[in-house]
């Protein structure tokens, strides 16, 4: 009797906390991650309100103060055509962040859906999808991206200004070759999920495959996808910058963080900030995405896992996040 009462009491006293609350609480606890989020937020806000934030027109050439040093008027100096570097950085954030967000959300969503279908249906569907994925992986990523960007350079999307149409082409190329990573991971997880009792139970209860995929397979394999998404934020921004830097991405005069580094070699000892600040923006965004993963990513799974299992293994991740970091990163040297 007493035991039952005690149990009731203790059960009653434990207030149920929602997952998002736990995640938020744990996130707040980590100072570096919060700082990182703050920096990224500043970038996003600057990009959104670029016309208000930027003191000058980023395209306005001014031959008087070309290669100007940083001053009260031009915070970060001026470039070879006398354009205000700070304003260009702010406008560059627009395209760079837009491409990153679009590419990441699309690749992770497609990757998850395709991976879930491939893993759940198994059989010939899986074979076809996996062979296709292997084919895509069999060519080194950066040369392939360069190749497609070079090929599609001339194409414009009707009804859009030049830079946005270029941005969409680049995003398309990055999406076309970006979805394979999450596909493989989600497939691996779904393969193990589909054999478990709850899947059989839902099938016995009369759920069709589509419902099972949506209700059980995808939500249960979301942890690594979130990791991939966060890591991808940094990865895509660097890839896009690399393409632009090599001259296959967004072409000047439209500024992106990558192509602002294109012509700095000539005067980089006299005006090192021309090379420094655009790279710093890329670096900060990428770094914070990694911090978010390694700190909050851990926390996320810890919060949502059963038995307080502290490692990633309870989610049957095929690789630890550290390794993911290594693998993702391999793509862009």
């Amino acid at each position: 009797m007493a035991v039952a009462e005690l149990e009731r009491e203790s059960l009653g006293s434990v207030r149920e906390e929602s997952l998002s609350k736990i995640v938020f609480r744990r996130f707040i606890r980590h100072k570096l991650a919060v700082a990182g989020m703050f920096v990224v937020l500043v970038f996003v806000l600057a990009a959104l309100f670029a016309p208000v934030v930027a003191p000058f027109n980023p395209y306005k050439q001014n031959l008087g103060p070309a290669y100007g040093n940083p001053s009260a008027q031009h915070l970060l100096g001026t470039d070879e055509l006398g354009r205000d570097v700070f304003s260009r950085l702010v406008y560059a954030a627009r395209l760079s962040l837009f491409i990153t967000l679009i590419v990441n959300f699309t690749t992770e969503t497609t990757g998850t859906i395709v991976g879930a279908i491939s893993g759940y249906f198994f059989g010939w569907v899986d074979i076809v999808i996996q062979r296709f994925v292997e084919l895509l992986i069999s060519i080194p990523t950066l040369p392939l991206l360069l190749f497609f960007s070079a090929m599609l350079r001339g194409i414009t999307v009707p009804g859009l200004p030049d830079e946005w149409s270029q941005a969409i082409i680049i995003s398309g190329v990055l999406i076309a070759f970006g979805w394979t990573g999450s596909t493989r991971i989600v497939r691996g997880m779904v393969l193990s999920l589909r054999g478990q009792e709850f899947t059989q139970a839902s099938r016995a209860l009369g759920m069709n495959s589509f419902q099972i995929i949506i209700r059980h397979m995808i939500p249960n394999s979301l942890a690594p996808v979130i990791v991939g998404l966060t890591l991808g934020l940094g990865n895509v921004i660097v890839l896009e910058a690399a393409l632009s830097f090599l001259g296959f991405g967004i072409t000047p005069p439209v500024p992106t963080w990558g192509n602002m580094l294109q012509n700095v070699q000539e005067r980089m000892w006299q005006q090192p900030w021309l090379a420094f600040y655009p790279g710093l923006c890329i670096f900060l965004t990428c770094w914070h995405s990694i911090i978010l993963v390694t700190r909050c990513g851990m926390r996320l799974t810890r919060a949502s896992s059963v038995d307080g299992c502290p490692t990633w293994r309870c989610f049957r991740l095929p690789v630890a996040p550290d390794c993911l970091l290594g693998l993702w990163w391999r793509r862009r040297r």
Partner: protein
Amino acid sequence: MTNYLIRRFFQMALVVLVASMAIYFLLWLAPGGPLDELKLGADRRTRFSATDIQRVAEYLGLHRGPVWGYLAWLTGEDWMDIVPENLWPVSDLTHERAPLQRPICRENKANCGRGVLRGDFGLSWYVARGAPVGEVLLSRLRNTLILMTSATLLSLVIAVPVGIFSAVHQYSRLDYLFTTFTFIGTAMPVFWFGLMVIILFGGNQSPIYKIFNLPYLPTGNVTLVRSPLAGSVLNILNAKPGSWIDIAVHAIMPTIVLSLLYMAGWSRYMRSSMLEVLRQDYVRTARAKGLIERLVIAKHALRNSLIPLITIVVFQLPGIFGGATITETVFNWAGMGYLYVYALGANDYPVAMAFLFISAVLVVIATLLGDILYTIVDPRIRFS
């Protein structure tokens, strides 16, 4: 195992075939190319006539159209004289059928293209106009091999001990230091890192020379193009253009940049692999039977933790051939990656296709090699 290898071999061949088709047909669809330039021309006198353009197309073998073009690229054109005339593609310039073989091949069989499968990648269109692509690639191979092998070896030699140390002393102060370094290295875009290193250490304008008065490093080009200025490392070492010292000094900066970045990823990989092994039961057993910790690590944990490293090392194989595209561009290092970017920018498709094709073949081989090595190192893994 034999059955498995045979099956894998056929799969590999299929993947390579499909990849080669994708590469060829996509480049066929791509705008630009040597004929486009000829079609420009402001007025009648300077513009090329249709027959002229057709002649150039036949000379380059572009008149064949995508399907015959692909076959010629893959298998060579020396057998194409057996193709009956009614299968020849109609030129959209002259509206006549032209023979599939190039005129130079019809004259003398020795001049025929032998196709990619027999190691003939055709002629370069722009980078080295008229030179065989194979020769162009080979001329760059040495530089890439120098850079990539030294960077790979250097980073492996450092990354493995660092990763093991971090894992054994998890959450120690040094582990945090290495972790921070890893994150920074991972987040650093290589083109930016390269530029910063050049600004700091390269050329006689750099702070290392101007402020600290130390010898500076050369900023670009694989070898000397003119005698080094005073204050340069090259001047102190009295390097001759093209000598090994010259190349080695030029390789210092790109090698260090590249290996620092590789190291960042690989030490992390090594660390998590080692942590995984240290959690295993047999490590606990080894400790329980009273083995000293150093021996547990060296004898029981280390070997097993090195297994996942195979993937990295094997997948570095295509990289060693392909070079580091961005690093080579930043440091003006005339290697494969740099050549590829240049060829793409100049629409030199035969060179770009050859690069992509060889890379694809190497990736496929590396995958197989990795799988086989796994079975050798870890007998628990079996293929049926």
